[in-house]
């Protein structure tokens, strides 16, 4: 009888559908939260709303045509996405990239990392509930970087500027001065974000200890980038398997220790500073003149049969391009290893047992770009 009576007071768990149209899902991500009061009991993520079949499309394109599609798989860090792709093609074709082109690539990729991290700061700040201010801060700095990219490549987001072998054309003559100018503004932007968030008691209370994931779990889920490093795993392709000229550059791999939302934020903030340092070193070492493409480039690039899995460190983690060639002028199979997809897998692990508001923060803290998740 007692149990019968007790059952009358049983509560039902509520399913709420977050997304694909929701201000905090950063695109067309959908998750169904099973909540008990304000506590999240289960998270069921649904992706694929932005699946455009970039991999299949690239199989029908020659190597140059594919670059445009790579831009679109990672629109917040298109240079980094292009880099993986062109480096994979170069590895297959055995192309040697001129030194100057490598330095320029590095500067642009690091700048793109900064712009992407600023975007994260803005979007994540809005997730925590500040009305618009972080967004404008982030956007302000990103705008300066994008203006620079536009002056160099001609486009603001879909650059199509890296080519197998080097760069499409040379940077502008005032490149170094412009980069230094942008760096100055970035330093101010980092200071602003640091002041707005890092010590703010409300921010700290909201983020510390939330969305915890241990290093073992994070590795097991295949997380990468700042989301993994926040758990204390110093895994960074730039350091572990240096590409471009990273071996000649002195920089730190930023790691957190707690693996919570705050550490994921703080890692990115510190990475901004590291990137600024990297760019400054690059500017000092970059030759002012020199070729940016190999001497002899075939009109239509063909690669010998073979395969390569080429990984680079994109802002959100390891962006890998698995390129299989059967000897033609187009990929036989192209697979994009998306860092966001793997990071997103751990969402359930991180948000179960948290409050609804925390689940939103956890999602924000792994900084997903849905076009990269779905490709």
């Amino acid at each position: 009888m007692v149990t019968e009576r007790a059952r009358e007071f049983d509560t039902q768990d509520l399913l709420i559908n977050v997304g694909p149209q929701h201000p905090s899902t950063h695109g067309v991500f959908r998750m169904v939260l099973e909540i008990d009061g304000e506590l999240v009991k289960d998270v069921i993520p649904y992706i694929g709303y932005l699946h455009r079949g970039a991999e299949k499309l690239c199989e029908t394109m020659d190597y140059r045509q594919g670059i445009g599609f790579m831009d679109r798989t990672e629109y917040l860090a298109a240079f980094n996405a292009e880099l993986s792709y062109v480096m994979a093609v170069e590895a297959l074709a055995g192309l040697e990239v001129p030194e100057r082109a490598q330095w320029i690539r590095m500067i642009l990729c690091e700048l793109n990392r900064i712009s992407s991290h600023f975007m994260f700061m803005g979007a994540f700040g809005v997730d925590t509930g500040v009305m618009g201010t972080p967004f404008i801060y982030g956007w302000r700095e990103r705008e300066g970087i994008i203006d620079l990219f536009e002056e160099i490549s001609g486009d603001r987001m879909m650059y199509a500027y890296f080519r197998p072998g080097g760069l499409a054309w040379d940077v502008t003559t005032n490149f170094k001065a412009r980069v230094r100018e942008v760096l100055k503004s970035i330093t101010q932007g980092i200071k602003d974000f640091d002041g707005l968030f890092t010590e703010n008691e409300i921010f700290v209370a909201r983020t510390k200890g939330v969305g915890y994931i241990s290093a073992e779990d994070a590795i097991d889920y295949g997380m990468s980038g700042p989301s993994l490093r926040a758990s204390g795993v110093p895994m960074d392709v730039r350091k572990d398997e240096p590409y471009l000229k990273y071996s000649e550059i002195d920089f730190k791999v930023i790691t957190g220790e707690h693996g919570d939302v705050f550490d994921r934020y703080h890692c990115r903030l510190q990475e901004l500073r590291e990137s600024v340092k990297i760019i400054e070193q690059c500017l000092a070492k970059m030759p002012d003149t020199g070729p940016i493409m190999p001497e002899k480039m075939p009109r239509m690039l063909r690669t010998p049969p073979g395969e390569v899995y080429l990984r680079t460190e994109a802002p959100r983690g390891e962006y890998g391009v698995y390129l299989v060639s059967n000897g033609g002028n187009r990929p036989y199979r192209l697979k994009v290893r998306s860092a966001c997809l793997s990071n997103l897998q751990a969402l359930k692990q991180m948000s179960v047992g948290q409050y609804v508001a925390d689940a939103i923060l956890v999602l924000g803290s792994i900084d997903i770009v849905l076009s990269e998740v779905d490709r």
Binding site: T128, V130, G209, A357
Partner: protein, 374 residues
């Protein structure tokens, strides 16, 4: 039956109607001004321009918005509970509206001087919780329901510190008559004697108004507008009107009770024009602070919010009341009040800081749930 309306003898009912009309017009105009001001000020804080196209400096933006909202279709979800859904905006809006009755804008410029004015104010301002819950339940939307329940929990929790902080002043003043309280601050405003009560009043008022960092019920990034997620057009605009009218009334009451309202600290009673400036400046200061906070601070989580009210604000304000009682009963010097109040503010600041920086821990519940879900 005639009554006195600003020196004119008019019929009681006509008087009531006229006064009501005055409030409605006044309130609507001021609210539109506030919305414009908030957008401009937030714009400045965020290094952008803000509304600027409609009228000079975009002053007519709110008018344009109002016209648009009135012209919009009034939608109701198919499964919504018609009565609760349709009535909820009124229940949110009317109590705020009624609160204006006792607000002492200027000398002699109020609708009614009530002896228990402060009591009336705190009583009437908590009625709108019902409207919020009705909106949340009636919308047949889970976001709305979560938002509505959050609103109820939050409003009830913060009602106590709000009332008690006002009570602290009322104790010292010895009256609940707002007009009288203002007049007593001819020389020294009560914020000097009751700084902690003011701090708590300000925090609790933010929570009562669902303003950042306590905008949990309407949290855009979580529950997408909460109780008014399903509202559109004129009903939605009533919620907005209520929100900004509430801000106005809280600012004016706060300015009157703690900052001395229209009273000039140097003793003399000023002319009407200067009174407008004085009240405007004092209330404006509070409103500006509210906007400033909205541009700077993240949102709290619901459990932290509740904990903050029950574990920190409430005990502190009770201590303040205790001290007030001791001072009054034993007739100690008023300076003690000021010192204790300042000490209280320091305590509030340090306790808040410590509460936020507690060592990180994974809640046991979370661990248990993880076991379940895995």
């Amino acid at each position: 039956m005639n009554t006195d309306l600003f020196g004119l003898q008019v019929n009681v009912w006509a008087d009531a109607a006229l006064r009501l009309q005055l409030i409605v017009v006044f309130m609507t105009v001021v609210v539109m001004g506030l919305i414009w001001a908030e957008r401009r000020i937030l714009g400045r804080f965020q290094q952008r321009i803000g509304p600027q196209k409609t009228g000079p400096f975009g002053l007519l933006q709110s008018v344009a918005d109002a016209v648009k909202l009135v012209g919009k279709e009034d939608l109701r979800p198919k499964n919504a509970d018609p009565w609760t859904f349709e009535l909820a905006p009124f229940l949110v809006f009317i109590p705020i509206f009624m609160g204006f009755v006792i607000v002492p804008f200027l000398v002699g410029w109020n609708i009614k001087v009530l002896e228990l004015g402060l009591l009336y104010f705190v009583a009437i301002s908590s009625v709108n919780i019902v409207g919020w819950v009705m909106a949340g339940w009636g919308s047949d939307n889970r976001y709305a329901m979560i938002g509505g329940l959050r609103a109820a929990a939050q409003s009830i929790s913060y009602e106590l510190p709000l009332v008690l902080s006002l009570l602290a002043v009322a104790m010292v003043a010895g009256t609940l008559n707002l007009d009288e309280i203002v007049r007593q601050q001819g020389s020294v405003p009560y914020i000097v004697w009751q700084p902690m009560a003011f701090a708590i009043f300000f925090i609790a008022a933010l929570a009562e108004l669902n303003r950042a960092p306590f905008d949990i019920p309407v949290g855009e990034s979580e529950v997408v507008g909460g109780p008014f997620v399903e509202y559109s057009g004129i009903r939605w605009s009533m919620f907005m009107l209520a929100e900004y009218a509430g801000l106005l009334i809280m600012a004016v009451v706060g300015a009157s009770v703690f900052l001395g309202g229209y009273a000039w600290p140097l003793g003399e009673e000023l002319g009407l024009g200067w009174q407008v400036v004085l009240v405007g400046a004092k209330a404006g200061l509070i409103i500006f602070a509210v906007f400033w906070i909205r541009a700077s601070l993240p949102r709290l989580r619901i459990d932290q919010l509740m904990g903050y009210s029950w574990k920190i604000l409430l005990p502190l304000v009770l201590v303040q009341i205790l001290v007030n009682g001791l001072v009054l009963v034993y007739g100690w010097s008023e300076a003690i009040l000021g010192v204790v109040g300042l000490a209280g503010v320091v305590a509030l600041v340090s306790i808040t800081g410590r509460a936020a920086n507690r060592p990180r821990q994974i809640p046991a519940r979370a661990a248990a749930l993880k076991g379940e879900a895995a």
